[in-house]
């Protein structure tokens, strides 16, 4: 099974249903990605596959053949923190840190999509990433700071991974106003 992780081509020989999460952690030694629930509810295992945010605990490795994977380790490969990561540190967006890798990957993807970082949009972007420590406020503020201020659009196309975030109601105003069709 050949695929690219953080820009580097890798090959593994494992059972086809082995989770991408376990391949990353055990076969490739990339332990930044965490397991929180094993059922796609907490987002601690979030990574990008071909630019799309996924829960790696639900992705079988047989479906990753030929794909480009980005993990938290790939966001700052040289060790120099990105503005997003610095904002997390400076604003108190991380306490115990267990949600942080997944949070940073989700936030990175949101920022790369160029969507305006309104409070609602940021919260919807990280809705699949649970945090038991911070109460989310500092995380949202960190993401907005990295975007250039609340409501600003973030850095486009992070490192060649074309993240796509959806303007859900399609009116282009960047507000992901949740309408239920009634």
């Amino acid at each position: 099974m050949k695929f690219t992780v953080n820009g580097e081509e890798r090959a593994v020989e494992v059972a086809p249903l082995k989770r991408l999460l376990d391949v990353l952690r055990e076969d490739l030694g990339l332990t930044g990605t965490k397991e929180g629930c094993g059922e796609g509810e907490c987002g601690a295992c979030s990574v990008l596959v071909d630019g799309e945010l996924v829960d790696s605990c639900l992705v079988p490795i047989c479906q990753v053949e030929g794909a480009q994977v980005l993990t938290v380790e790939g966001i700052a490969p040289s060790g120099q923190l990105t503005p997003l990561q610095r904002a997390f540190v400076e604003r108190g967006g991380a306490q115990c840190g267990i949600c942080t890798p997944g949070m940073v990957v989700a936030a990175h993807c949101f920022l790369a999509s160029g969507q305006p970082s309104t409070n609602e949009a940021v919260r919807e972007a990280i809705a699949g990433n649970l945090c038991r420590c911070t109460g989310y406020t500092k995380i949202v503020e960190a993401i907005q700071e990295a975007a250039g201020g609340a409501g600003s659009a973030g850095e486009k196309a992070g490192r060649g991974f074309g993240c796509v975030y959806v303007d859900g109601d399609g009116d282009g105003d960047g507000n992901v106003a949740r309408s239920r069709g009634t």
Partner: protein, 266 residues
């Protein structure tokens, strides 16, 4: 180790289906099957996994003669991005935003939602109210099954052992509205979900979480069509239970409240 075939074409998938291997499971985005695999539930009953994630014939949303054709592998994100869905059946894109969260929406498929056949499946009441058809296919050919004939019993469908869901066809006629009531805004299995559509033949109502299957509410439809008390009639359609998410009384009360609002909105 469970054997897996990752099909690269529909024909390859059909060849696997033709073998009728006992315990064959179909794998699409993995948001249902991988949860079971991770929890080690029923692994001994899985004989073979047919991975259809890369079968191109199962993707795509097209418009043909007044009918939306939605490939079984269309993800919730695809539904949200689709211009066609936004123009013709926006409710389907909106409900997709209420399924799980972003990472689930990128991988979960409408075909998986249908074939998993949970009574809480979020697209199902909408497809029922819209009178969708499910096009099934396999080595023996293709056939269409109406949505209200597809869900037979709890998590049991009309899909044959050697069949795949290929696509969903929705004749777009009237306005489709819905309301999902979950435990929170995201990452929430529904407690009650209803959809209503005013088509040329009258009002159609689909409901989830109020019976062992997602179902059409025929008594409520008749009452709505004749100006009667639809909320009272709904009580004859539904058989809600107590479970971890809600009580039968809650479901009954809330389903009635939601129905009244949906009918006002139509």
């Amino acid at each position: 180790m469970i054997p897996v075939t990752s099909a690269r074409s529909l024909q390859e998938a059909f060849d696997v289906l033709a073998r009728r291997t006992p315990g064959l499971r179909v794998l699409a985005g993995g948001t249902d099957l991988m949860v079971a695999v991770n929890a080690r539930i029923g692994l001994e009953r899985i004989g073979h996994v047919l991975d259809i994630w890369r079968v191109p014939e199962l993707r795509g949303v097209t418009w043909h003669d007044g009918t939306l054709r939605i490939g079984a592998l269309t993800t919730y994100t695809d539904l949200m991005r689709s211009e066609l869905i936004r123009e013709r059946l926006p409710a389907l894109g909106m409900v997709s935003r209420e399924v799980g969260a972003w990472a689930i929406q990128n991988r979960g498929t409408i075909g998986g939602n249908v074939c998993n056949a949970s009574p809480a499946g979020d697209t199902l009441p909408l497809l029922l109210a819209a009178e969708a058809r499910f096009v099934l296919g396999g080595p023996r050919g293709e056939r269409a099954v109406a949505a209200d004939q597809f869900f037979l019993a709890y998590r049991k469908t009309a899909l044959g052992a050697d069949e795949l869901l290929l696509r969903i066809e929705v004749p777009v006629s009237g306005r489709l509205v819905y309301r999902k009531v979950g435990t929170r805004k995201a990452q929430s299995v529904s407690r009650v979900i209803l959809a209503a559509c005013r088509g040329p033949a009258g009002v159609r109502i689909g409901a989830g979480c109020v019976a062992p299957i997602p179902l059409r509410c025929r008594h409520a439809e008749a009452a709505a069509g004749s100006g009667g008390d639809a909320r009272a009639a709904l009580e004859r359609d539904i058989t809600p239970i107590d479970d971890v998410r809600a009580t039968a009384l809650y479901r009954s009360r809330v389903a009635g409240n939601v129905l009244v609002r949906l009918l006002e909105a139509l």
